[in-house]
Each structure stands twice: as C-alpha cells, then as structure tokens.
C-alpha cells in the first residue's frame, strides 16, 4: 500500500512536468496550428541558459529568471523569424514541421558542442526529504507540483478573464473570424509562442535541478509535449493537463509491474490505446477545418 502511495506521488510529480510540457505546447498548437517541434529546443535553451547564468555567478533565482526569459525570446523568435516567413511563402504544414525539426537538431547539437553531453547540474536548491509515514518525497517534488498547479490555474484565468486571453481563445476558435473582427492575429501568434515558451521554461529549470541538463532533453521534451495534447485531445488545455498527469501516473505505476527499462514504452502504448479507442483524444472537441 505504501508502495502504491509512493508510486502515486512519484507519478504526480512526473505528471506535473508533463502537464507543463503539454499545456505549453498545446496552447501554441491550438492558437497557431503549427506543429512546433522546436518546442524541445525552447526547453533546452531554458535549461542551459539558466546553467550559464549560474556559471556567471548569479544566484539560482536570478539565473532561472534569466533562463526563462531567454527561452521566451527564443520561442517568439522561432515564430517571428522562421514560421511566419514560411507561412507567408505558403509553406505546407510538412515544410514547417521539417524546418522546426531542423531547428531542434541544430540547437541540441550546438549545445552539445558547446557544453558537452554530460549532465549539467544547477546548484542552490537544497533538497530536503520529507517523510510522511513510510512514504518519502522531497521539497523539489512539492515545488514541481505546486508550480504546475499554479501555472495551469494562471493560464486558465488568463484565457478566460483577461481581454488578451479572450482574444487568444477567439483565435483558437476561428482565426479568420478573429481577423475579421479586428484581432491582430499575427501579434497573437507571437503572444502564444511567448506564453507557451514561458510556461515550459520553469519545467526545464525544475528538471535540470532534479537530474541535470543534457542536450537530448530536447527530444524528450517535445515527445512529452505533444503526447498529453494528443491524448487529452487537441483544443482542450485542461484535457492536456489531465493527460499529462495520467501519463505520469501510468509510467510511475507501470514500473511496479514492468521493469523500468520499458517505462518509456508505457507512455506510447497509452497514446496508441487512446487513439485507437477515441481518435479525437479523451476530451478533444476540435472539428478540424479541412474536412467538409
């Protein structure tokens, strides 16, 4: 029983990270319909710039802040300098996808060349173990969980209560109509990329604190970014959030029965299972344009 609770807690913390990955990517995808494969690059940019700032003598808090800002800038730049240009040239989704893939590979390998492939740690977060009964976790896990919850709530409030948030929802719903009623869709694309990158960066910082940053985290991050979105259903941010938690729990509890090497496969099996049973995802409501 204790083991079960322990695994649940592990799953929730893992799921918190997946939640952040999912809602950040899901927001970008819903607003701009771009399969932003380079979101993984945003993730490693956040991690490594935080590390870099710390190497330059900044305390963790400021380093993290700096890393998050750099990530946001990077995300906005991919839209403003690349995707927008491609869209203007009537690029097909495939072309944009491949360009994004190119960015991910280039950024990851530049980082590998510059920093090496060993895991870069972040100092300054004293990890304190907390025990309740025979169940143990640490304060970092709590921070992950709380961060995910707070950011998710903040995003939902933003989208539903603020003017710009509502404008974003309008663009999600119908970009052409939004344009017609005077919303500057191009500006909101940039906002979406900025917001999405701002949401994923803290996850990068937290993961780096926990296990150090490696360049291939980018691949890992993008995979776990669109998986919750697909499982939860494109268009539903709460769905993506919930799916992130579910995948985290599934992976964690799955280790119980299956050897940990297979853990990675679990998430994908969940994905395939969901797609087989409910092709629009658990909570998806998007009726895609392009059909009749």
């Amino acid at each position: 029983m204790d083991l079960f609770v322990q695994l649940t807690i592990n799953g929730l913390t893992l799921g918190s990270i997946y939640l952040l990955l999912g809602i950040s990517w899901g927001l970008i995808f819903a607003v701009t319909r771009t399969f932003h494969f380079a979101h993984g690059a945003t993730f490693v940019v956040a991690a490594y710039f935080t590390y870099l700032f710390q190497q330059w003598g900044q305390p963790l808090i400021f380093a993290a802040f700096g890393g998050i800002c750099c990530a946001a800038l990077f995300g906005v730049a991919t839209e403003g300098l690349l995707y927008r240009y491609l869209r203007r040239a009537f690029a097909t989704p495939l072309v944009i996808f491949i360009a994004a893939l190119g960015i991910l590979i280039t950024v990851e390998n530049l980082i590998a060349m510059g920093f090496g492939t060993d895991a870069k740690p972040l100092e300054g977060f004293p990890v304190r173990v907390i025990k309740i009964g025979r169940v143990g976790f640490n304060n970092l896990h709590v921070v992950m969980f709380v961060t995910a919850g707070v950011l998710f709530a903040a995003l939902m409030l933003y989208l539903h209560r603020t003017k710009t948030g509502k404008a974003l929802r309008a663009v999600i719903s119908n970009p052409e109509m939004a344009e017609v009623i005077g919303i500057d869709v191009r500006k909101y694309f940039l906002i979406a990329f900025g917001l999405g990158s701002l949401l994923v960066a803290p996850a990068a910082v937290l993961v780096t604190i926990e296990r150090g940053a490696t360049p291939d985290l980018g691949h890992w991050a993008i995979l776990y970014s669109f998986m919750p979105v697909i499982i939860g259903g494109i268009g539903s941010l709460p769905g993506a959030a919930l799916a992130g938690i579910i995948v985290g729990l599934a992976e964690s509890i799955g280790i119980w029965k299956i050897s940990s090497q297979w853990q990675v496969g679990i998430a994908f099996v969940v994905l395939v299972a969901v797609l087989l049973l409910k092709p629009t995802g658990l909570f998806g409501f998007r009726v895609y344009r392009g059909k009749i």
């Binding site: 995808f29 399969f35 690349l82 240009y85 491609l86 690029a91 097909t92 989704p93 495939l94 072309v95 944009i96 996808f97 491949i98 360009a99 893939l101 190119g102 960015i103 991910l104 590979i105 280039t106 950024v107 990851e108 390998n109 530049l110 590998a112 060349m113 691949h219 995979l223 669109f226 998986m227 697909i230 494109i234 050897s259 090497q261 297979w262 990675v264 496969g265 994908f268 099996v269 994905l271 395939v272 797609l275 087989l276 092709p279 895609y288 392009g290 059909k291 009749i292």
Partner: protein, 581 residues
C-alpha cells in the same frame, strides 16, 4: 579505394530508404516518422535469421520484408484513421516502441550490445565479402527498388496517391478508398525499407539499436526532402548529397568528439535552409515526369471566344455516355426517408423525406444555412445520418462510406471545387475513371499489359470528356493554372468521368458570368438525355428557372415545399423566407 566503395554502398542503402519513404511522404503526403523502424526491422530479421539459422540472405531479405510489412500494416490500420498531426505522433510512438523493444528484449536482440557476426551474403555459392563484391549486389537491389518505385509512381495507383496528397476529400468523392490506398503505400514503403535494412546488416556484420534512432529517420527525411519530394530521382540525388556531406565532414579538421554534432548540425541547417528557400528540393517535383502525351488527338474544331462546349456532336457524346440505354427503374432513383443530421444542438437536416426520379433535373434551393450542402454530404456518405435512411436504386446506402457510394453511381461537385491543382487537367479527369485495374498494386506488376491497355482506353475516354466540356486543348496544363470558369468545367468533366448516374452539383453557377453560363448550362441539361439524373443546389434563380424540372425548397433543415419553378416562385411565404421580410 575501399573507403570510396563504402561511400557508394551507403549511398545505395540510403537511396533505397529514400525511395521507399518518398512513396509515403513525397507522393502521398503522409508524415510518417517511423521509417527507421522498418529499416531496423529488416536489419534485425535478416541478422537473426542469418546468425541463428544460417538462412540464405535472399530469404532473410524476404523475411524482413514480410515482418516489416506486417508490422506496418498493424500500425497503419489504426493510424491512418486519424488526421495528419496524429499520424506524426503515432508513427513517432511506433519508432520509440521499436527502439525500446530492440534495447530491452535482450534475449532476442542482445539489447545495446547489438548483434555481431552477421554472415556476409553468398550468392550462387560465391561469398560476397569484400566491399568490391558488394557493389554489384547493392547496385542491383537499388536498381530493383528504383524500378519498382518508378512503376508504382507512374501507374494509376501512383496517380491516386498524388491526388490524395492534393485533396483527400475530393479523392474519396471520386470513388477511391483513400484509406486503403494509404495503408497499401505505407506497407509497401515499409517492406522496401526492410530491404535496405537487410543489406545494411549483411554488409556491416554488426548492428545495434544505435543505428536506428530518430536521428536516422531524420536523415531519411532529409534524403527525400533535399533530393526533391514526389520525384523519382530525388531520393537518389538526396542520398548522394547527404552521404557525401556526412563523409566529407570526416576529412575536415574536426575532433572526433564533435564530428557527430557537426554532422547533425549540418543536417539541421540543411533542412532549415531547404525549407526556406527550396522546399521542393534539388530537383523539384516535376523534373522527372515522363514526357508522354498518350492518346494525343487532333482537335480541329475552332475555339470560339470564351468557353464553348460543342454539344453538336451527338455521336461522340453517345460514346461517352453509353447509359442512355439503361432502363428506368420504376421507383425513385434516390429516396430519403426521415433523414436527420445534427451538429451539437443544431439540426442541420430535419426529418427530410424526399424522392428523386430518374432523368429529372431537380433544384435544391433555400436560404444560406438551410442544410443543402449538408444534405449532399449525407447523401454522398461524408456524414452518416443520425437517423432515417437513404436509398439509391432500392439499395440502402445510409451507412456506406463515401467512396462506395460514388462507386454505386452518385457523384458530387464541391462549392470550392477541390481540384487537384498540381496535377494536369487530364490527370484530374483520369483519376475519376472508375474501377481501374492499375489502381491495384499487384496487377501493376503481374499484369502490366492489361493495365496499360486499360490506361490507354481511359486516356481516350478522359480526353473525350474534356472535349465535351471544351477543355481538350488544355489537357496538359496544370489544373491550378486554369481560369476559374475553366476550373468549373474541369470539375464537371471530372464528375462525369466517374460515370455516375446521379450527379449532385453544389452551386455550379457561382462565380461565373452570364456568358459562360449560357454556354455551360445547355451542357448540363443535355446530360439528362444520356440517362443522368441531376440535383443542383443553386442561389441563382435564372439558372434554376431555365434548367430544372422541379424545385425543392429547404429551410432550417426541413423540406418546406416542392413543385415546379412556377409554383415555387409564386409562393410569397417562400420568397419571404428566402429574401427576408
């Protein structure tokens, strides 16, 4: 020298991978991320058979193809159901699952340590062990795969693939089972990729999961993209370029630690560069189209100003539409009973009951949002009705998929035309021809004679349809380059080529000026003489009045009235609904 041979062999392997992937990505437009998985499956199957059972390498290759084909079939069946983004994700999932299995099923695959001691192949008793000896083998297989892909691509099957890439919905509406085509191309691509895997295993004599990661899928992507998608030579060119770049980096003064990264950065940069400046790759799309113009005819009738269909050749038209001899069934051709279609809370089609008799032209009118296009979509199988039934020629078609309904004899046009813009006018019509033997992968290879004979006949028929609408001299032009009016005519020709008995036209007059309409609509009226039944959705009252025998007035999903144009036009309450207070 050995080193150059090694480069040649690697080029050949990646050319095979690129050719097979091009079928899936370039021609059909499916963004599948799992091609390296088929590469791996072929390699491991061959390797395991070779090391454990000493099987002959040709059998190993065949086995690899079978296993890869089966797995790709299992993946394709669920994955193809879903939309593009989901396909990316599902195929990525497959890749990761295969990689995880390769790493962790240690009993079978030895995991990360890989399989070594894979025997070099032997052919007719002669063991192929030196790189030099490998060259003819590689060349032979590459040539085989190239020829197979060439044959597939320039066949009716390949034509449907291109149509699917252009517009899936339109392709489905022309009677092609889009899902089946996608599955077939996926399986074929997977099986061909396995050949590369087997050859790779026997050449390297050592394989491990590290050879088959997402980076390798990316490399295959790059080979196809950079060479030129949907181009038969493209992957070969792409393989040459990329393998050369990969190996050239070895000669630069780069420390071995970072050469791997530099290579990857080079790929990434190449991908970005090409997407920005030359998304169609080196060779572009049409460089390798065969210079044919089969069935070239001499059209000597003078082209009048504007579009002029010549309805004055009854004999030729009778050849086109042999169905006028079809007997008229006693009952209605199309019967709708209590059909309902809701979207969320909106009743788009509300308890619709309707009969359409054969040989009539019926106009479907009503204000915008009345449900006319939705009704078309339900009848043609794009939306299943929530309740009620649709019967065609006494056969219940309510739950049939769209392509089967077209097969049975109902075809429709689209308000936004949905032409295959990057295909020629002739190809647009050719795709629509029904029951083509050449659309079956097996017949293309086993009965090429009858396939090409049928193709010739279809070409002639297609040209005849184009003549009927007056577009015959544009046959070689890209559909996207036609004027709007010409595109409408092409859409009609494409529709007629399906040989459907019931033709549904969705706003055929929109966007046309009156002169063009004067030429076009006698054409449509004439179709009835050839046994066709026509239902037109229109807003243009002049067109309705001059063309239709009967009008059905729809509002808010319900049939409000039915009668001759005179009767309907005179009813004031209908006018009020249509035009507002």
């Amino acid at each position: 020298m050995d080193y150059l041979l090694h480069i040649f062999i690697m080029i050949a392997i990646y050319a095979i991978l690129g050719l097979s992937f091009n079928l899936i990505l370039g021609y059909t437009g499916l963004i599948a991320m799992c091609h390296a998985a088929f590469f791996a499956i072929g390699a491991y199957t061959s390797a395991l058979l070779g090391t454990h059972f000493g099987t002959h390498f040709l059998i190993g290759i065949a086995a690899g193809m079978v296993v890869s084909g089966v797995i790709s079939l299992l993946v394709a069946i669920p994955a193809i159901r879903v939309r593009d983004e989901y396909l990316i994700v599902t195929t990525l999932a497959l890749l990761m699952i295969v990689y995880t299995v390769l790493m962790n099923w240690i009993d079978l695959t030895r995991g990360a340590s890989g399989l070594s001691g894979i025997p070099r192949p032997s052919l007719f008793g002669y063991r192929i062990s030196s790189p030099m000896a490998f060259i003819p083998l590689m060349f032979g297989f590459t040539l085989l795969v190239f020829l197979a892909c060439w044959r597939i691509v320039y066949s009716p099957f390949g034509r449907v693939l291109r149509a699917i890439r252009e517009d899936e919905v339109a392709t489905e509406s022309l009677g092609k089972d889009v899902r089946a085509f996608k599955i077939w191309v996926f399986v074929t691509g997977g099986a061909l990729a396995a050949i590369a895997g087997s050859l790779f295993a026997h050449y390297m004599t050592y394989i491990s999961p590290a050879n088959f990661t997402i980076n390798d899928t990316i490399l295959i992507f790059a080979v196809v993209i950079i060479g030129g998608t949907a181009n038969a030579w493209g992957p070969v060119v792409g393989a040459i370029i990329l393998v050369s770049v990969m190996e050239a980096l070895r000669f630069m003064e780069i420390s071995p630690v970072i050469v791997g990264f530099t290579r990857q950065i080079a790929y990434g940069a190449i991908l970005i560069f090409f997407m920005c400046f030359r998304p169609h790759g080196f060779l572009g799309e049409f460089a390798a189209r065969p210079p044919k113009n089969g069935g070239k005819r001499n059209f000597s009738f003078p082209r009048e100003e504007g579009i002029s269909p010549r309805a004055d050749e009854p004999r030729r038209a009778r050849e086109l539409f042999p169905q006028e001899s079809v007997s008229r069934p006693a009952g209605a051709l199309l019967r709708l009973k209590g059909v309902n279609k809701n979207f969320g809370g909106l009743k788009a089609v509300n308890d619709c009951t309707l009969d359409l008799a054969q040989g009539k032209i019926v106009g479907l009118i009503g204000p915008n949002g009345a449900g006319k296009t939705t009704l078309f979509n339900v009848v043609t199988g794009f939306y299943p009705p929530d309740s009620g039934s649709v019967t065609f020629s006494e056969k219940d078609i309510s739950s049939l998929p769209a392509h089967r309904i077209t097969h049975l004899g109902i075809a429709r046009s689209f308000q936004d035309l949905r032409l295959f813009r990057n295909m020629t006018v002739l190809d647009n019509v050719l795709v629509a021809r029904p029951r083509q033997t050449g659309e079956n992968l097996f017949w293309i290879f086993i009965r090429p004679g009858s396939v090409s004979r049928e193709e010739k006949e279809n070409r002639e028929k297609a040209m005849a349809f184009l003549e009927f609408v007056g577009l015959a001299d544009q046959a070689g032009e890209l559909a996207g380059n036609l004027s709007f009016a010409e595109q409408k005519l092409l859409s009609l020709a494409r529709l007629l080529a399906t040989e459907a008995r019931l033709i549904l036209l969705d706003e055929p007059a929109s966007g046309l000026d009156s002169k063009v309409m004067e030429n076009l609509f006698p054409l449509v009226k004439d179709l009835v003489k050839f046994g066709k039944t026509i239902c037109i959705v229109e807003h243009n009252m002049e067109v309705i009045r001059s063309m239709v025998d009967e009008i059905v007035f729809l509002n808010e999903g319900k049939v409000l009235a039915r009668g001759t144009p005179e009767q309907i036009m005179k009813a004031p309450e209908l006018a009020e609904i249509y035009f507002g207070g």
